[in-house]
Amino acid sequence: MRTKILFCFIFSVLAASLTGCGQSEPEPGDVTGYDQGEKYLSIWVHCIEDTNEGKCYRDAVDRFNEQFDGTYFADIEFIPRNDSGGGYSDKINASVMSGGLPDVLTVDGPNIATYASNGIIQPLAPLTEEEKSRYLATIIDQGTYDGKLYALGAMESTVGLYCNKDILKKAGVEIPDAEHPWTFSQFLEILEKVKPVTDSLKGYALDMTFPIGEETIFNYAPFFWSNGQDITSKDGLKVDGIFNNADNVETIEYFKTLLADGYMSKVPVSNLFESGRAAFKFCGPWELNTIYTSYPDVNLGVAPYIVGDHWDGGRYAPSGSWAFAASTKTDDIKGATELVKCMTNAESGIALWKTTKNLPSTFEAFEQCEEFKSDENCRALYEQLREKGHPRPKTPVYPQVSTSFQQVLENCVLSGADPQTELDKAVERINAKLKRYMVK
């Protein structure tokens, strides 16, 4: 009997110690700065505190606590996200099940629709028109799902069509202005002109790959949008007849031409553009900093993103980044919204740009950063984002859409598969995931 009692005791002590890992809201005084009478707000971010990005978020939370001293107290938790996307999202998944979500959390732009449709985040408290107008249209667009604003970003991103101006000069090519981007056909002619120059440098006209992960859809979805087509329906619940239509087949054939005519390498060549052996490269805004600091010999320019031959002048350029949203767990949506606004205001955006070179999300931040006035390449990226930025597909099955998009391009362009067959297969896969939402 005593054995059983002892055994039960050990078992229950260990079980209790394990269950003690769960979270509970601290009492005033438990956390430095959290005083009596203040409303406690927890916030999760997806990076390490000891990084420049982490420090910016810590500073923003400190500013919030100072501004709302006596009313609110925000407590930030840093949950690193690994390269394959795990870590942070695993914690969110586990918290959805256990009910331990924070009041405010960071969400990657394209996941906003998924989180909103599954009741993980809730619409922010109404913002005035003046408050909304501080943000770039792409930030408001990205954060809006089903007509309601769920999230605001502290930073933005886009993809630049970077050019080596020395190579273009040798080939007799001039960069057009933002209102007259090269069309697909014109760009092929340009590539034909620069090819002899890049061949002599043992390089390629275009430094282009289709990497696994988010980069492929982020970089190349604009080719589809600017050609008058889309990837999903506006409500994100339909892909058949949209993703696999004839015009999208034509766009994929265009990518195949780039490889078949020898303008790009079939296998990724590291630092092709940076070493001065490629005329063009599609890459994120961080490329500016990379070139300026590590490859100063490259005479860098930014051309407007190329457009399809059927472009109607609409928005098409890549946009979107991580954003802050209020979880459905919060019982003080007003306080959570204030925290979201503080995390994403101009001051936060400027700090992020200065330390991480991620583009800010507010007009004020862009105006206060000198580089966007003095540096034509920085200005080109800002103007592209402001005038032509387009969010990624807003669909609750975004991960499947992103994966399928990459697979289609890789299979068709690099492995020579038939575009229509691959698009149909992709539609079938996405439809399988959409079933869950069609029942709802």
Binding site: T3, L414, K425
Partner: protein, 299 residues
């Protein structure tokens, strides 16, 4: 009385392990089995339904899962002989070496203690279009190979890298086995003027047979669990050519949040590996018994 106190002490030692095993192994196993019959979606657990065998039908119709299964089996087929015979060969060579034996042992064992992620990152550079391997090939007039950037070469390339990484572990096991063989057997063979090949075939191999089976089982199970190498080196590509079953389970569960479906895949995977292990265990038992019988007859 003494028996009772010993029992209490035993329980005290056994208890913590049991709790941890229950929480982190048995419970997850039971939950995985339960979830495999549901459409459990991580972002909306409230909408979970019992779906019977739907998930099982779905994964067998899923092209990605079929591809992952084929890739995993191909990987196993490449790596098991490569790593198994490689480690045996290395062990035989090191056993013969009279100088710097410790140096060779350490040199071949170092990759085993290195993190797989680090080794994979290193080999991404080695396999690069302008990497060291292509530079060596260029010296022999062989054109640059795409290696991990080609759908036909990526899987064998990863298998070779994995074999290089793991071969040292099995080599040490074989080396232990070789050193345990009674030298009198070789002396007797020499008196009968046996050739090196005859000694290897009739003494070394039969003596190492039980070890061989153990080594081949561990390599097979390890190979089925491959995840880190494709995740770091290729992301499952190009064209899904290095997408493995464990990778599919991971992506379905954590990227697409389909815990129900991922659980079904995990169950199918576990059953498959279990069947394979049982088959290998039966074969092992037979071989060992035959070996013992043969020994007894000879005596």
């Amino acid at each position: 009385m003494k028996k009772k106190s010993e029992s209490i002490l035993g329980m005290a030692f056994f208890g913590p392990a049991l709790v941890l095993l229950t929480v982190f192994l048995f419970l997850p196993m039971i939950l995985t089995l339960i979830f495999s019959f549901t459409d459990f979606f991580a972002l909306n657990p409230a909408l979970t339904h019992f779906v019977g065998l739907d998930n099982f039908f779905q994964i067998f119709h899923d092209e990605d899962f079929r591809q992952a299964f084929i890739n995993t089996v191909c990987f196993v087929i490449i790596i098991v002989p490569l790593q198994g015979l490689g480690s045996l060969g290395l062990a035989l060579l090191i056993n013969k070496v009279t100088h710097c034996k410790r140096y060779f042992k350490v040199a071949f064992f170092i990759p085993v203690v290195m993190s797989l992620a680090v080794v994979s990152t290193l080999w991404v550079q080695i396999y690069g279009p302008e990497g060291i391997l292509n530079s060596i090939l260029a010296n022999f007039g062989i054109p640059a190979q795409p290696f991990i950037n080609s759908s036909s070469q990526a899987l064998p390339a990863i298998a070779i890298m994995s074999a290089w990484q793991g071969v040292g572990y099995q080599m040490i096991i074989f080396l232990g086995g070789l050193q345990a063989i009674n030298p009198a057997l070789y002396e007797a063979a020499e008196m009968d003027h046996a050739t090196s090949w005859q000694k290897f075939k009739d003494i070394t191999l039969p003596e190492l047979k039980p070890l061989c089976i153990f080594v081949f089982i561990t390599i097979t199970i390890g190979a089925f669990r491959m995840l880190v190498q494709p995740m770091v080196m290729t992301g499952g590509g190009p064209s899904h050519s290095t997408y493995t079953m464990v990778y599919d389970i991971y992506e379905t569960g954590t990227v697409n949040w389909e815990i129900g479906l991922a659980s079904t895949m995990a169950i199918v995977f576990a059953v498959f590996v279990m069947i394979l292990t049982v088959i290998q265990t039966i074969l092992t038992r037979d071989k060992e018994e035959k070996h013992e019988n043969k020994k007894a007859k000879n005596l």
